[in-house]
C-alpha cells in the first residue's frame, strides 16, 4: 500500500478571469521509506503539491490519499490531528520559535501528545542527538548558526516519528557545507526511521541525494525517474 497516492490532483488558482493550474491532474504515489524530490522551475507547483499532501490546503479536483485516508474528507480539526500524528514539516526559513530553546522547539509537537515529561525529554534528546545538537539543547535559535537552526527544525519534524516528512527548499538558506551536513543527517534519518521524505527543491546538492526525482512543469509531471 502506498503511503501517499494522488489521483488527478488538480489545484486551480483564479486570478481575476484567468485560471492558473498550479497542479494539473497529477497522479503520483509514494511508498514507505522513499527519499524523493520534486524539481522544476519556479511556479511549477512543487510547494502546492506539498501543501496538498500535508493537508494544509484542499485540492480543486482529484484526490489525495495519505496513509489510506482520503484527505478531502477531513475537516480542519481532523486535518490538524492527522498532521500531528503522521506528518513532519521542514521549512526553507526554519520557522523555529525564537523565544524557545532548541529543546523546547523540538518538544513542541510532543506537547499535544499524551506523554509524560520524562518520555518527552527522552524523545527530544534522542532527536537532538540524531541531528548532533544534544549539546546545544539550551540554546535559543538566535544563538545558533543557520545550519544548526535547520538541524533543530529537522529534530522537531522527526521527534514524533512521523510517517511522512515534507521539506520545502530545506537548503535554500544554507551554505554548501551546511547543506551537505543537513542532507547527510536527513538521509541517515530516512535510513533509520524509514520515514518517507518528499522534497521540493531547485538545489543540485539536494538532487544528488534523491533516490527518485519527479520533474514538474506548469503543474504537470513531466518526468519521474529513479536515481543512482
Amino acid at each position: 500500500m502506498s503511503v501517499i497516492k494522488t489521483e488527478n490532483l488538480t489545484k486551480i488558482y483564479r486570478m481575476g478571469h484567468t485560471k492558473i493550474y498550479a497542479l494539473d491532474h497529477v497522479n503520483l504515489s509514494f511508498e514507505k521509506g522513499e527519499f524523493a524530490g520534486l524539481v522544476g522551475p519556479s511556479g511549477s507547483g512543487k510547494t502546492t503539491f506539498l501543501n496538498m499532501v500535508g493537508i494544509l490546503d484542499k485540492p480543486t479536483e482529484g484526490r489525495v490519499i495519505v496513509m489510506g485516508k482520503e484527505t478531502s474528507s477531513l475537516n480542519q480539526k481532523e486535518a490538524a490531528l492527522f498532521r500531528r500524528k503522521y506528518i513532519g514539516f521542514i521549512f526553507q526559513t526554519f520557522n523555529l520559535f525564537p523565544h524557545y530553546t532548541a529543546f523546547e522547539n523540538v518538544e513542541f509537537p510532543l506537547l499535544l501528545l499524551d506523554l509524560s515529561t520524562e518520555e518527552r525529554k527522552e524523545r527530544v534528546m534522542e532527536a537532538l542527538e540524531m541531528v548532533n545538537l544534544a549539546h546545544r539543547a539550551n540554546s535559543k535559535p538566535s544563538e545558533l548558526s543557520g545550519g544548526e537552526r535547520q538541524r533543530v527544525a529537522i529534530a522537531r519534524a522527526i521527534v514524533k516519528r512521523p510517517e511522512i516528512i515534507l521539506a520545502d527548499e530545506p537548503t535554500a538558506n544554507l551554505d554548501a557545507k551546511n547543506s551537505y551536513n543537513v542532507l547527510d543527517i536527513m538521509a541517515d534519518i530516512n535510513e533509520k526511521l524509514k520515514a518517507t521524505f518528499i522534497f521540493a527543491t531547485h538545489d543540485e546538492k539536494v538532487i544528488k541525494y534523491l533516490r527518485r526525482k519527479i520533474t514538474l512543469n506548469d503543474g504537470k509531471v513531466v518526468k519521474d525517474e529513479v536515481m543512482k
Binding site: 501543501n51 500535508g54 494544509l56 490546503d57 480542519q76 480539526k77 490538524a80 490531528l81 498532521r83 500531528r84 500524528k85 514539516f89 521549512f91 526559513t93 520557522n95 520559535f97 523565544h99 524557545y100 513542541f108 509537537p109 506537547l111 499535544l112 522537531r156
Partner: protein, 392 residues
C-alpha cells in the same frame, strides 16, 4: 493546560511590553478597588452614624407617619402601646414625639420640627441628658450646629416657638437653648429642636403619645405594637444604600476610562501579535495545532495580562490600599455638608473580599474579551497563507 503554559511562556518572554500592559491594567484595578472601597467605607460609616443617632436597632412608626410628608405629622401620633411601654421602662426602647412648629428668631419665621425625647434615654447616642435641667426658666432645648447657624442663636439664648396642639389650636412658648451639639448626622440637626418628651406631650395635649419609637440594638424580635409598624434597619438604611449605589454608578464611567487605557494597549498588542506572528501561527498549524487551539493560545496570552496585573497590584496596591484604610482620607467640611448622608471628618475606605475578587474577575473578563476580539481573525486564516507570513 499545555496552552496555558505556552501562553504564559510566550507572554513572559515577550518582556517589557507585557509588563507595561500589566502595569497599566493594575493601575485600573487598584484605582477601582480604592475608589469602590471608599464608597463602601462611606456607606458603612454613614450607616453606623445613622444607627447611633437615629435608628438604634430599628423604629416603630405610627401608622400615618411618613418622613417625606411633614403634613402627615398632624395626625401621625398615638398612644404608646402597653407592651412597648414596658420595653421603654426597661431601657430597650425610647419614644419620640414629632410636632410641626415655627420658630421666631429675631422676627424671622423658620419652620422647624419639635422633637420630644426622654432625656435619660441611652439608645440614641447624642446628648439628650442636657434636657434634664428642670431648673431652667423656660423649656430646655437641644439643637445641632447647623440649626443654630440657621436660627442665629447661641447657647443660653431664648427662642420663641409656636405650634398647634392636638386640637389644632395655636400655642406658643419660649425655649432655652441649653446646648448646641456638634454632630455628623444632619438628620438630627437640620430644622430640628429637641425638647423633653414629657414637656412636649403636655404642651400639645398628646399625653403618653409618640410618633416613632426607637428600639435598642440589643432587642431581638421586636413585638407587634398596635397602631405602629416596625421598620427594621434594612428598611431604614435603604436610603443610604441607594445613595451609595448612585455614587458608585457615577464612577463606573471613570472605571471604564481607567481600564480602557490598558485595554486599548492590550488590544493593540494582540493585533500586532496576529500580524507579526503569522508565520508562527502557520507553523503551529503545520505542527498539528487546531485553529481553536491557536485561538485559545493567543487569547490566553492576552488574558494573562490580567493575571500579571493582579500580581503587580498585590505588590504595590495592597500596601497602598491598606495604608489608606488605616489613615483614612480627610474630608473638607464643605464636602461632608454637601452629602445627604452623615460623614465623619475622615473617611475610611473598606475593601471586602467580594470587592477585591469581584473587581479582579471583572478585569479578567474584559481583558479576555479584548484579547479575543483580534484573535478571531485566526479562524479565517488558511494555514498556507499564514505560513507565507506578511500581509496578504
Amino acid at each position: 493546560m499545555v496552552l496555558l503554559k505556552l501562553a504564559y511562556k510566550n507572554l513572559v518572554r515577550a518582556g517589557l511590553r507585557t509588563w507595561l500592559n500589566a502595569l497599566a491594567l493594575s493601575f485600573g484595578l487598584v484605582a477601582i478597588i480604592g475608589l469602590q472601597g471608599l464608597y463602601i467605607g462611606m456607606g458603612e460609616q454613614a450607616a453606623s452614624v445613622a444607627k447611633d443617632a437615629e435608628y438604634g436597632g430599628g423604629q416603630y412608626w405610627h401608622k400615618l407617619y411618613d418622613p417625606y410628608d411633614p403634613l402627615t405629622l398632624q395626625d401621625a401620633h398615638g398612644k404608646i402601646p402597653q407592651n412597648i411601654s414596658k420595653l421603654i421602662s426597661e431601657g430597650k426602647a425610647t419614644p419620640i414625639l414629632i410636632v410641626q412648629a415655627t420658630a421666631y428668631p429675631q422676627g424671622r419665621t423658620v419652620p422647624v420640627l419639635l422633637k420630644g425625647i426622654i432625656p435619660e434615654q441611652k439608645i440614641l447616642k447624642f446628648p439628650t441628658g442636657v434636657l434634664k435641667s428642670e431648673d431652667v426658666d423656660g423649656i430646655p432645648a437641644l439643637i445641632g450646629e447647623r440649626m443654630a447657624a440657621e436660627l442665629g442663636v447661641k447657647e443660653g439664648d431664648y427662642l420663641t416657638v409656636r405650634w398647634r396642639d392636638v386640637n389644632g389650636t395655636f400655642d406658643a412658648t419660649d425655649v432655652k437653648i441649653v446646648k448646641i451639639m456638634s454632630t455628623t448626622d444632619q438628620n438630627i440637626d437640620n430644622g430640628q429642636i429637641w425638647v423633653p418628651l414629657k414637656v412636649l406631650q403636655r404642651l400639645t395635649g398628646m399625653e403618653e403619645e409618640a410618633t416613632i419609637i426607637v428600639v435598642s440594638p440589643d432587642l431581638k424580635n421586636p413585638p407587634p405594637a398596635p397602631g405602629f409598624e416596625f421598620k427594621n434597619l434594612k428598611f431604614l438604611l435603604k436610603t443610604i444604600e441607594a445613595l451609595v449605589k448612585v455614587k458608585t454608578q457615577g464612577t463606573f464611567v471613570i472605571y471604564i476610562i481607567l481600564l480602557s487605557i490598558a485595554l486599548i494597549s492590550i488590544f493593540d498588542s494582540q493585533v500586532f501579535s496576529i500580524f507579526k506572528r503569522k508565520k508562527e501561527i502557520g507553523t503551529l498549524m503545520a505542527l498539528g495545532f487546531t485553529r481553536l487551539q491557536v485561538i485559545i493560545l493567543f487569547t490566553l496570552e492576552g488574558a494573562l495580562h490580567a493575571f500579571f496585573a493582579v500580581i503587580l497590584s498585590a505588590l504595590y496596591g495592597a500596601p497602598l490600599l491598606i495604608y489608606a484604610a488605616k489613615v483614612g482620607y480627610a474630608l473638607p467640611k464643605s464636602a461632608t455638608e454637601s452629602f445627604a448622608i452623615a460623614l465623619g471628618e475622615r473617611l475610611y475606605p473598606r475593601y471586602g473580599t467580594g470587592l477585591i475578587v469581584g473587581t479582579a474577575i471583572l478585569v479578567f473578563i474584559v481583558t479576555t474579551i479584548v484579547s479575543y476580539l483580534p484573535v478571531r481573525k485566526i479562524a479565517k486564516m488558511k494555514p498556507t497563507e499564514a505560513l507565507r507570513g506578511g500581509i496578504q
